[in-house]
Amino acid sequence: DVKVTQSSRYLVKRTGEKVFLECVQDMDHENMFWYRQDPGLGLRLIYFSYDVKMKEKGDIPEGYSVSREKKERFSLILESASTNQTSMYLCASSQARGAANTIYFGEGSWLTVV
């Protein structure tokens, strides 16, 4: 079974702090994604990556950056956390480029910025 592991399930951070959300997948998937989920807004794509050291902006990249130094690891970075970034963050991976590929999600990281 594919496993996508997010390092932190629940975090509380202060406004202005730098926040790292880590994600690791164990199935040698090419593609990795970061989504944000908020009530009534569904799943919104923040950033994605189709290869190591490669990144592409999704629909809502403002206030975020990402890093993919190794194939299995994709990190989401909040340079200066703000209260409007309080949300659930979902990491995901898929085998290869192409819309026909199933996405596997991690369990999510609940971030509260105070």
Binding site: N31, G42, L43, L45, G58, G98, A99, T102, I103
Partner: protein, 110 residues
């Protein structure tokens, strides 16, 4: 990315009643995928539809892809409390990432 419209946003049903959620796009889709997210959980893949007019079944769940490949539906027959959760459709197009609908949250009253 261009959204897919998913309706209704919420649905409350009595256990044993049927449930349907609809997904609509203004553009032709190469495929559509459906995911289920249980309360407190993460989205899990249910199925993918690729062919025009395709119908697939998983026990009490029936998935349809429209003839024009612009809409899809998920129908649950005789809902059970285990069906509770949010159902998302996601549209696929070329090499771009999946675009998810906002989801339909299903509540089942025992």
């Amino acid at each position: 990315g261009q959204q897919v419209m998913q309706i209704p946003q919420y649905q409350h049903v009595q256990e044993g009643e049927d449930f349907t959620t609809y997904c609509n796009s203004s553009t032709t889709l190469s495929n559509i995928q459906w995911y289920k997210q249980r309360p407190g959980g993460h989205p899990v893949f249910l199925i993918q539809l690729v062919k025009s007019g395709e119908v697939k079944k998983q026990k009490r769940l029936t998935f349809q892809f429209g003839e024009a490949k612009k809409n899809s539906s998920l129908h649950i027959t005789a809902t059970q409390t285990t069906d509770v959760g949010t159902y998302f459709c996601a549209k696929g197009s070329g090499n771009t990432p999946l675009v998810f609908g906002k989801g339909t949250r299903l509540s089942v009253i025992a």
